[in-house]
Amino acid sequence: MDTDETAILFGEDVGFGGVFRCSQDLQDQFGPHRVFNTPLSENGIAGFAVGYAATGGTAIAEIQFADYIFPAMDQIVNEMAKFRYRSGNQWNCGGVTIRAPCGAVGHGGHYHSQSPEAYLAHTPGIVVVMPSGPKDAKGLLLSSIRSPDPVVFLEPKALYRSSVEPVPDEDYELPLGVANVLHQGSDITLIGWGGQLRLLEKARLLAQKEGIHCELIDLRTILPWDVDTVTESVIKTGKCIVSHEAPLTCGFGAELVSTIQNECFYSLEAPVMRVCGMDTPFPLVHEKYYIPNELKILDAIRDVMEKAK
């Protein structure tokens, strides 16, 4: 907001600070013409962002929950993603960044827990990013806002409160389209994104106690995703598990597994596995059972190691 005077931040309830306090004090600091509430309509928020960005501005739009991004899908898929291409590069809306809190939070149920990255990943022309913690969030968000392409930035809401780490004060950017290897390991590659990294890390530590050394990768950018880092790792370890909160069928894990088996087939020592949410709407009272937690991941790790023998 400081470095770009055309940057505006808008969405439902953004003015008073936002339902997750993401825009706290920003209206006081930058004024109501730059930080403001819109009427309640996600297709309006997204369309407004496209128009503003097409006219040379930086539009930071907030969708209150990723569960409500669906009314905006026409604007995202049919307009935002195709804006540059269909115009022969005369027009673009690279100035758009749509932020939306996603993922399980313990009590969200069907409509406050979804992770819609799979729907978005199937859309050539947009960039989809999901940070796994505060430090990554800042660097990835700044890159996303400054990216010359329209970005959908999904923020795992469980991490707003629970995730604590030191974050540098200065302005820094993390590259988009590049995965982050959090831990090196020789036995098996674990891949995830967003909130799932915490559970994968727990599983990694449990596996380590059993003498299994896991390589842990945070994908960071869902689209376009870092094929090279992933395949390099799987070729090294020969084994792989992909884990995400979103339902199993046609989840983004399927894309990874498909590419991995294609690129790393002759290096694989066991089938590539997925540990994901169930194919049900996200349940409330049974959330604990639904979530692909560290126990399920550990089961899968043991299973893969067994098959590889």
């Binding site: 369309g47 407004f48 128009g51 540059r84 590069n89 005369q90 027009w91 050539p124 090279d228």
Partner: protein
């Protein structure tokens, strides 16, 4: 069966009793003001319907005004058949229409009072009236108005230019449509019957204004300066197409002319127009000069006005207060769905007060009226940074597209009626016939002049088409560009694989994309 599209029905003129003077009269205050031509400080013109009929019989005023008129605008010549009478014993029965009936049995009262209904104004009881300046026979309606100040098309050069562009549009529509029937292009959409909307609206705007159109607004782009070559290149998807051959014909776009590229989903441009308006509002606030300020203009049809995006956009625009004009071409149909199956309210304009938005309804087949309304709307939008809704009533003479045969769902007689009496180009031809601007028409009589213009434009379209057809397709390598600002790894890889595949199968792909 389509009506013959190549022949423009010629000028039909209804005789008006010569005792009835049809002269725009200008009162002194206006005459004084007009010499300043201070547009931005000019109060909005107002017309009074009751006064109208009185003025018809006020002759001394009329003749004084006539002299004034001739002084101010020497190019405009009084039609010699119409003379003001000194006295009028009886009031002659007026053949000046009071209502227009549109498809879907929608009968609307005509007004010559140009007034935006502002958000807190009283809304019309009954149907919203239709603003009109020029009747079907080309005669101008009387008013004590400020036409010279708000209608710059009144001067010969501009009017003839507008006329030529309307004809160019009809010729382009005819020829490209036939090209599709011959299999030379894959698809086309005509704008027949809506020419006055395109040219009249575009002529009121500046290049600073951003246009977000639907798909039946080619004339707007044409007026701005898109050449016939550029139209043809896009329709033929050749290597010169600004859109790089990526979209179906008529999906034009031009950054240079501030015209967003057309997309097929309906109504999506409307919320975008709010965002554009918001940005322009910020930029306008920094501009000292009025001429550097701009507004957003979104065009859409009666069908698109049913979408959620329309509703959202109107609400956003009014609430966020942006200089965006929402221009509805109510042409009676959304493919086969007539307005009777589209809505129950009084058209689209009547929705505006619900959003807290200013609005006006205009006769879309009257070039002068559309132009006047757009000027007023634009001035309001920029001055107040608030949106305006304009509903231009018209009739879609053409089929929806080349994939449609509208005789399957509507009466051919209705189409023909609108193509003759109701046609906007015919109306303007009638006006020219009345105006007798021999000077501007190189001394020719109107019939010959119109025929000459038609032939010239037809030839130009044919030539552009022939050139476009000869040009090559865009290079295959362009297919993977512009998906993102920079080509990502996975696209580089897919491109490589595709090019290798094409190389291995040269014969199959040698015929090109058609």
């Amino acid at each position: 069966m389509m009506r013959p599209s190549c022949i423009l029905p010629f000028v039909t003129r209804r005789k008006i009793p010569s005792s009835l003077s049809v002269i725009p009269s200008i009162n002194n205050a206006v005459a004084r003001a007009s010499s300043n031509r201070a547009h931005s400080s000019m109060p909005l013109p107002s017309f009074d319907d009751e006064k109208e009929s009185r003025i018809r019989s006020e002759t001394s005023q009329a003749s004084a005004n006539q002299q004034l008129l001739q002084k101010k605008m020497p190019a405009f010549q009084r039609p010699s058949c119409i003379e003001p009478k000194k006295e009028q014993a009886k009031k002659q029965p007026s053949t000046i229409p009071t209502h227009v009936t549109y498809t879907g049995d929608m009968t609307l009262p005509i007004t010559s009072k140009l007034k935006l209904t502002l958000p807190n104004d009283e809304t019309p009881s009954g149907s919203w009236p239709l603003f009109r300046l020029m009747d079907e026979d080309g005669h101008l309606r009387i008013q004590d108005n400020v036409i010279p100040n708000i209608v710059n098309l009144y001067d010969t050069k501009s009017a003839l230019h507008a006329h030529r562009l309307m004809i160019r549009l009809t010729q382009m529509d005819d020829i490209f449509l036939n090209a599709q029937r011959q299999g030379r292009i894959s698809f086309y959409m005509s704008c027949r019957g809506e020419e006055a909307i395109h040219i009249g609206a575009a002529a009121a705007l500046s290049l600073k204004d951003v246009i977000l159109a639907q798909y039946r607004e080619a004339g707007v782009l044409m007026y701005r300066g898109f050449t016939l070559d550029q139209f043809a290149d896009q329709c033929f998807s050749n290597k010169n197409d600004l859109g790089r051959g990526r979209q179906m014909p008529v999906h034009y776009g031009s950054r240079a002319l501030n015209f967003h590229t057309i997309s097929s989903p309906l109504g999506t441009q409307l919320p975008q127009a709010v965002g554009v308006g918001y940005r322009l509002k910020m930029e306008n606030e920094r501009q000292e000069q009025e001429s550097k300020k701009g507004c957003a203009v979104a065009f859409f049809g009666d069908g698109s006005a049913s979408t959620g995006d329309f509703h959202t956009a109107c609400n956003f625009a009014a609430t966020l207060e942006v200089p965006s004009i929402f221009f509805c071409r109510n042409n009676g149909f959304a493919i086969s769905t007539s307005v009777e199956e589209q809505y129950r309210g009084d058209g689209i304009v009547s929705r505006a007060p619900g959003y807290g938005m200013a609005a006006i309804r205009v006769d879309g087949n009257d070039l002068f009226a559309v132009n006047a309304v757009m000027k007023v709307a634009r001035r309001y939008a920029i001055e107040h940074s608030k949106p305006v809704m304009v509903e231009a009533m018209t009739y879609r003479q053409s089929h929806h597209s080349t994939s449609d045969d509208s005789t399957r769902y509507r009466d051919v007689k209705e189409i023909n009626r609108w193509a003759s009496d109701g046609d906007p180009v015919n109306r303007f031809n009638n006006f020219l016939d009345n105006a007798k601007w021999q000077g501007g028409m190189d001394g020719e009589n109107v019939e010959l002049y119109i025929k000459r213009v038609r032939d010239e434009e037809r030839f130009a379209v044919l030539r552009a088409m022939e050139q476009a057809e000869k040009k090559q397709d865009p290079d295959l390598s362009t297919m993977f560009e512009d998906v993102y600002h920079e080509k990502p790894h996975h696209l580089k890889r897919q491109e490589k694989e595709l090019l290798e595949h094409v190389k291995r199968n040269k014969e199959y792909y040698a015929a090109g994309s058609h």
